[in-house]
């Protein structure tokens, strides 16, 4: 039986309440940390665990914590990034809705480790009903003495505040999130200074994803080494995967990192295979921003070995034949999917969500959307395919924040792997614009 670090008790009735969560062993990790460990010891365990940022960047969480500046007399903040907006990703939504106390326990442990006395959970505003669940859980924890002044007699104080966003993908970028938390437009900041030095209110700040923070109770209970023993190499522990698209069992699954992509896609335990009567065409493995792969490259590396659900294996082959684990938004496409239409759809998303600060992103996302739109609607030119590659390459790496890269990669990768499908749209506009028309040319379906 695979280890469940986050979701072991997710199906226990009433687990969203304090009493049931407590009965299932909840808040024992917090007691252990506050009563028997120093903040430094907590940081050490998280470092040993090797947890990597689960929001998508994959940066080691313990290392991020250790960068936090600690000037005398200046408050430090922990901010939980719950602005989950990456298309294909809905695991934090699932986690917060079902296991609010797990996140709260993790927030208290993490805040203690960082020496923060006020911490924030920034939740995308659309999830107002989840915000109400979290606020109720916070009130329960506070009533039981697990939040507020002198928690469990340890002398440690913590206030936890839930802040709703206003609807903006860009606020998932940590410095845009901090701007938003200060009541401003979500424009990402220039770095350096990094939030670890100058973050919220210009004070040292750590921003971590929901899922990352939720690993800390298990790590306190079982130790960093036990966490690191799960998974493969530098991909330690478990990961929540949000599975969507043309599969039999869409949903959120907690896997031990290292499961073969093929097993995750076909096993009944997880996605349960492609929907009946259809074939596997393409995969976006880690949220809309990561490169799309054709079926054959999604399942196998160039050398024929199975591709695994790890940070390393998914990126094996670079962008030529690989992709990224990202946020774990696993979007599956069968042969009825039009790659051109989907790429246009994703481009529209990035154009809509660009904050407009950097010209390559502001202008480039708009042009990519326009050119893709004209290809999709039968007005494309032969030169458009290379034009798209050119525009994408001029956005990538030339912006303050990673939204530019995130907009460029889906376009560049779709053309890299499905160029013939784009050309078919351009050379057969009448056929391609029929309702439900899909490219049926040569490609590797599985």
């Amino acid at each position: 039986m695979a280890t469940k670090i986050l979701t072991e008790h997710v199906n226990v009735p009433g687990i969203e309440t304090f009493d049931v969560y407590r009965k299932q062993g909840g808040y024992t990790a917090l007691e252990k940390a506050l009563k028997t460990m120093t903040p430094e010891a907590v940081v050490e365990e998280v470092k040993k665990a090797g947890v990597r940022g689960r929001g998508g960047a994959g940066f080691p969480m313990g290392m991020k914590w250790s960068f936090l500046a600690k000037p005398e007399g200046v408050p430090r903040y922990l901010v939980c990034n719950a602005d989950e907006s990456e298309p294909g990703t809905f695991k934090d939504h699932y986690l917060m809705k079902n296991l609010p106390h797990l996140l709260i326990e993790g927030m208290i442990i993490s805040s203690f480790a960082l020496g923060a006395n006020k911490s924030f959970i920034y939740v995308r505003g659309e999830l107002m009903y989840v915000i109400r669940i979290l606020e109720k859980a916070i009130a329960e924890a506070k009533a039981k003495g697990f939040l507020g002044k002198n928690i469990l007699g340890s002398g440690y104080d913590l206030e936890l505040v839930v802040q709703p966003g206003g609807g903006a993908y860009i606020c998932g970028e940590e410095t845009a999130l901090l701007e938003s938390l200060e009541g401003k437009r979500g424009n990402p900041r220039n770095k350096p200074p990094f939030p670890a030095v100058k973050g919220l209110y210009q004070c040292p700040t750590v921003v971590n994803n929901v899922e990352s923070i939720a690993t800390t109770p298990w790590i306190m209970n079982n130790g960093g080494d036990a966490y690191a023993a799960i998974g493969i190499g530098r991909s330690t522990g478990t990961k929540l995967i949000s599975a969507s698209g043309h599969i039999n069992k869409p949903g959120v699954y907690e896997i031990e990192l290292g499961v073969p992509v093929e097993d995750f896609l076909y096993a009944d335990e997880w996605c349960g295979g492609i929907r009946p009567g259809h074939k596997f065409k393409a995969l976006v493995a880690g949220g809309s921003s990561v490169p799309i792969l054709p079926a054959n490259l999604a399942l196998k590396l160039e050398n024929g070995d199975k591709r695994l659900m790890t940070y390393e294996s998914l990126s094996e082959g670079g962008f030529k034949t690989g992709t990224m684990l990202g946020s774990g938004g696993f979007i599956v496409f069968d042969e009825t999917s039009c790659i051109v239409r989907n790429t246009w759809n994703f481009s529209r998303f990035y154009h809509h969500e660009s904050c407009g600060q950097c010209s390559p992103c502001r202008e480039g996302t708009g042009w990519m959307e326009k050119v893709l739109h004209r290809i999709e609607y039968g007005h494309g030119h032969q030169r458009d395919v290379d034009l798209l590659v050119d525009v994408a390459s001029k956005i990538e790496g030339n912006t303050i924040c990673p939204l530019g890269d995130a907009a460029a990669w889906p376009v560049a990768s779709a053309i890299r792997h499905f160029r013939d499908e784009f050309l078919w749209h351009i050379t057969n506009p009448q056929e391609a614009t029929q309702p439900g028309a899909v490219y049926r040319g040569e490609m590797a379906l599985v």
């Binding site: 907006s85 294909g88 939504h93 659309e126 009903y129 206030e159 200060e182 989907n342 759809n345």
Partner: protein, 169 residues
Amino acid sequence: MNMITEATKPTIQFTPERLERAKQSIADYPEGKQKSALLPLLHILQEQEGWTSPEGMDYVASLLDIEPIEVYEVASFYTMYHLNPVGKHVIEYCRTGPCCLMGGEEVYAHLKQRLGIDTGQTTVDGQFTIKEVECLAACGMGPVFQIREQYYMHLTNDRVDEIIDELSK
């Protein structure tokens, strides 16, 4: 506080319960950082008025002791705030890739046909407004739309009809 003259005196106010929530929200942030409560207060405003009206935004500015422009520039950045009056029920459907893979485009076309309006429009009786939004973080349950705080998932044409019938009662 801003200088409040007869000319700039807010023409709307929060209900006592909402004003209490607004004050609690302001108290959540360190002293002098009350502007942090701007997004929460705009949500409270919209909950009360249905949209973030200019008068309402001026009122929020007065509560936070900031300039009205600081409110306008923020409200216009985020997609959730309605800068124009909307219908009683605002249907915000997800137009992003995963929902479209699950047949979203057909379902949303049916929704528009059923209500006789396009995206961004309000029915003549003022009951429904349709807006299209980007990913709502419910991709495995698509197609999805949201009406106020409620998510409606696994949408089909029949399900859309049921929901509209229910809300029209």
